[in-house]
Subunit: 466 residues, 2 copies
C-alpha cells in the first residue's frame, strides 16, 4: 500500500492542493496537518474585519474544517504541527493534541505560509503593540479598540487594554498593503492615525508616482504621514505611549507593526530543502523542490516571474491557490505547471483603487537586464461628458530594446483594480507597447473613454520607446 | 505641388486621421469636408443626453470645429458635402454653402460613417417617430419629451409635439444598444416604455444567456418587453398612437426606431470602390480600398476580425478612431496597420454593466470553422465576505480542437465593462482556455474574489474542452 500524500499547512495552497487531488484522484489518500485552528481563511480580509465591514472572523472562512472533512472527505487535522521531515524515511514528525507521532508520506507538500516580520525595535513587547499575523491577531486588535467581539480567554488582555483606556490614536509602522489598509480601518473607528514609513514612499511595489498620489489622498483623509522616517522604538510602560524616531516622539495609544512578511522555511531548510536567493523555498515549474517527493507552494515558496524569467517571492493569495491546485493535479497524475507570476496586485486606500503588475520602476527594470523607459499619464475613467468620472493615473514601464511592456501601476477612484488585468495579460503574452495600444478594448460612455486609459498610456510609451 | 489629402467626413475616423497626419507631417496639406455642422462628436453619448445626464449637445463634442481650425490648423469645412469621386482625375465634387466645386486630392479617406436603418414600416413618417441618427435627432427627441432645450427653428416640430400633449409612453422598435440605452433614458423621464424586438432576445451580439439576464432586469425596471415580435407598423394620424404587431396594438405616444445602422457606402460604390460581403467598404490591413489612393475607415468600412481572420463590419467608436489614426500615420509616411477588431463592446442597461468580445455563440463559432463549446458561470464580484458585492455571469466560448478561447459575454452590477478587456486581450494573443486560467490577475477583497471570475470561467471552459 502506498503511503498518503501529506500536506503541511491548511491555508490557501495546502487546501487547494488537497481538494484538487481529492477530486481528481479520489483513491489517493491525503492528510493535511494544520498547526492552528483555522484553515482556508482569507487573511486579506483581516483589515476589513478590524474596520468592521466584516462582522465575524468566521465570515472570512471560505470552507470550514468540518466541510473539508465531512463534505469533501479530506483527512484534515487542525492543531497538528509538523516539526520535522525525515526525507530518507519519508516520514514527518507531527505534534498533535494526543502527543507526537510519525507519519509516512509518498509525496509531501510544504505549504507553511509566511509570518509577519517582527523588527528588532525597542519596546516590541509593550502591551498594545500588534502585528496582523493571524486570525487571532485580528480579533485582538478589534478588542483593543473596544469593539464588542465574541470574547475568548486568549483575548482577555486585549479587552482589558481597551477597558483601561479606549485608544484614541495609533501608530502604524510600515506603509505597505497592511499599513495602508489598516490606516483606513483605524480611521473608521475615529482614531488619529500616524503612519511611519522608512522609505521615501509608501507602497514600494507600486512605484513612486502611484505612491505619491496615494499619499496625497491619505493626507486628505487625515492620516499623519511620517515618510523617510526610521523608527527607533515603541515607548511605554504599562501600555504604548509613543513611537520614537530620532529626537521625535509621537504620542499614540496603540501600535501596529506591518513591515512585511517572511516565508516560513525552517521546517524545509532543516530537512535540507534548498532555499532560493529570495529566502523562500526554491521550486521548479511544477512546484517541486530539490527533493523529488517534496513540493512547496504558497507564501513559503518562490515562483517564476513572467517578465524577468527569474525566481521571485511575491506572497499573494492567487499564487498560493493556483500553485496548490496545480500541484494537486500533478499529484493526481496530470503534470501541471504552477504558472508564472507577474506580481499583479490591487489595494484599496480609502476612496482610491491602486493596482500594479510586472516591473514598475526603471531601477528594477535595469536590474533585470532591460533598457527601461517609464511614462506617466492621467486619463478620464469615463467619457468626458458622462457625469461622475474621475482621473486614472497610470505609470507604465517599457523596454527600449524589444519594445515590450514590462509593467504598470495605476491609481484612481474607479475602474483601476481590474483594469490592471489587461496589462497583466499583456505581460504574460509579451506584448509590445505598440501591440498593447492596438487592442480592441471595450468602450461605453459610463465606463471608459473611447481610448481606454491603458491604450492611451501604451501609445505614449510607444512614442517614447521609438 | 502635391494635391492635398482629402478626408470625407469629420467624425471619429476622419478627424483622427486629419489630426494625426497634421501632427506627424505638418507639411502635408489636409482638407476635411463634413456635410453637417458637428464634427468629432460622441454619438454614443446621445442616449445620455436624452436621459438628461448630459446637459447640452455641445458637451458631447470632444473638439470643436474652431479648435480644429484655429488651434490645430486643420482645414476643416463643415456644411460641405462630397457628392462624387473622380478616381482618374483624382478629384472630388464638393457641394458647399457657396456652390459646387472640384477639389483635387493626392490621397483620399472615405470616412462617411453609418446611418440608422429606416425599416419599411407603415407609418414611419408619422409625427412622433424618431431615429437616433444624429445630434439633431437627439435634440428633437428631448424636445418631444417636453424637456427644455435651446430651441432652434428645425426643432419647432418636436417642441410643438410635446406642447400638444406631453408623451407618457414610448414604443422602442429594436432591442440593440440604442434600444436598451434609450429604454433607460425614457424611463428616467417617467415614460411607460415598450421595447419591441423581432428576435427571441435583445442584444443579439451578446448571446442568449447574457441577453436573458438583461431582460429580467429590464422587466424589474418596469420595461414592457415584446420579444419575438415583428412590428407591422406605427399607427397614428396627427401623431403616433400605437405600435401594431399582428392582431395586437400597443398604445404609445412616441416611437423610437433603432434597428441597426447601415454603412454609408454610396459615394464610394458609385466611384467603383469595392464593397465586401458585409456591405461595408472592403479594405486591406492599412485601410486601403481597391484604389491605391483611396482609404476607408470607421463605420463605413470593414476590418479584420481577430478570431475569424475574416473581414467583418462592427461599427464602433474605438475602431473608427484607431483606424483613422493609423491611416493618418500611414499617410504621414509611417505605414501602420489599422489593427484587428474583436467586436469588444460594453453597454449600460439601467443598473447592469453588459460586455462582450469575440464570438459568443456556438452557431457563429461553427460558421467560422471552429468546433465550439460554450460554458456559463456566475461568480462573485468581490471576496465572499466583503460587503456590497454582486454576481457576475459569464458565458465563454472555446474551440475544442485548438483549446483557444473564442469570445465571451458577461453581465453584472459592477466590475463587468472593463473585465471583458482581459478576454479581449486573450483573443488578440490567441490564448487557450488553459493559458487564460493561468494568468496572474489582481486580487483584493473589495474588487475581486481570489480567483477572478474570468479565471474561473476559463477553468470551467478548459475542463469542458478536454
Amino acid at each position: 500500500m502506498t503511503a498518503p500524500v501529506v500536506v503541511v499547512g491548511g491555508d490557501a495552497a495546502g487546501m487547494s492542493a488537497a481538494s484538487k487531488l481529492n477530486r481528481d484522484a479520489p483513491d489517493r489518500e491525503v492528510i493535511v496537518f494544520e498547526r492552528g485552528e483555522w484553515v482556508s481563511y482569507g487573511a486579506c480580509g483581516l483589515p476589513y474585519y478590524v474596520k468592521g465591514a466584516v462582522e465575524t472572523l468566521e465570515d472570512l472562512v471560505a470552507v470550514t474544517p468540518e466541510e473539508f472533512i465531512e463534505e469533501r472527505g479530506i483527512d484534515l487535522r487542525t492543531n497538528h504541527e509538523v516539526t520535522a521531515i525525515d526525507r530518507e524515511a519519508r516520514t514527518v514528525t507531527v505534534d498533535g493534541p494526543d502527543g507526537e507521532f510519525e507519519q509516512s508520506y509518498s509525496d509531501l507538500l510544504v505549504a507553511t505560509g509566511a509570518r509577519a516580520v517582527e523588527p528588532p525595535l525597542d519596546g516590541m513587547d509593550t502591551k498594545g503593540v500588534f502585528t496582523l499575523h493571524s486570525m487571532g491577531a485580528g480579533a485582538d486588535i478589534r478588542q483593543a479598540l473596544g469593539v464588542e467581539t465574541p470574547a475568548v480567554d486568549s483575548r482577555k488582555a486585549a479587552t482589558e487594554y481597551a477597558d483601561a483606556k479606549s485608544p484614541e490614536s495609533v501608530g502604524i509602522i510600515g506603509g505597505g498593503y497592511v499599513g495602508i489598509e489598516m490606516a483606513e480601518a483605524f480611521a473608521e473607528h475615529g482614531l488619529d492615525v500616524h503612519l511611519f514609513e522608512m522609505l521615501p514612499h509608501t507602497l514600494q511595489p507600486f512605484g513612486a508616482e502611484t505612491a505619491a498620489t496615494v499619499e496625497n489622498h491619505l493626507r486628505e483623509k487625515g492620516v499623519n504621514l511620517h515618510l523617510d522616517t526610521a523608527i527607533d522604538g515603541i515607548r511605554g510602560d504599562e501600555r504604548v505611549s509613543a513611537i520614537t524616531a530620532g529626537d521625535a516622539a509621537v504620542p499614540v495609544d496603540l501600535a501596529l507593526v506591518g513591515v512585511g512578511v517572511a516565508p516560513n522555511t525552517e521546517l524545509a531548510a532543516d530537512a535540507g530543502i534548498e532555499l532560493g536567493d529570495t529566502g523562500a523555498i526554491a521550486t521548479d515549474e511544477y512546484g517541486r523542490t530539490n527533493d523529488d517527493h517534496i513540493y512547496a507552494a504558497g507564501d513559503c515558496a518562490e515562483a517564476t516571474h513572467v517578465v524577468t524569467g527569474k525566481p521571485d517571492h511575491v506572497p499573494l493569495a492567487l499564487t498560493a491557490n493556483r500553485s496548490g491546485r496545480a500541484i494537486g493535479q500533478t499529484l493526481a497524475g496530470a503534470p501541471t505547471p504552477v504558472g508564472d507570476i507577474a506580481g499583479t496586485a490591487a489595494v484599496k486606500a480609502f476612496d482610491l483603487e491602486v493596482a500594479r503588475t510586472g516591473l514598475v520602476d526603471e531601477e528594477r527594470g535595469r536590474a533585470a537586464g532591460f533598457d527601461p523607459v517609464s511614462v506617466t499619464i492621467t486619463a478620464p475613467s469615463r467619457a468626458h461628458y458622462y457625469p461622475g468620472g474621475s482621473k486614472i493615473e497610470i505609470t507604465m514601464l517599457g523596454d527600449r530594446e524589444s519594445g515590450r511592456v514590462l509593467g504598470a501601476s495605476m491609481v484612481g477612484r474607479e475602474g483601476v483594480a481590474k483594469r490592471i488585468d489587461t496589462v497583466a495579460t499583456a505581460l504574460h503574452t509579451e506584448l509590445t507597447a505598440h501591440q498593447l495600444a492596438s487592442l480592441d478594448l471595450a468602450y461605453a460612455p459610463p465606463f471608459s473613454p473611447v481610448w481606454d486609459p491603458v491604450l492611451t498610456v501604451a501609445k505614449v510609451l510607444e512614442s517614447k520607446l521609438n
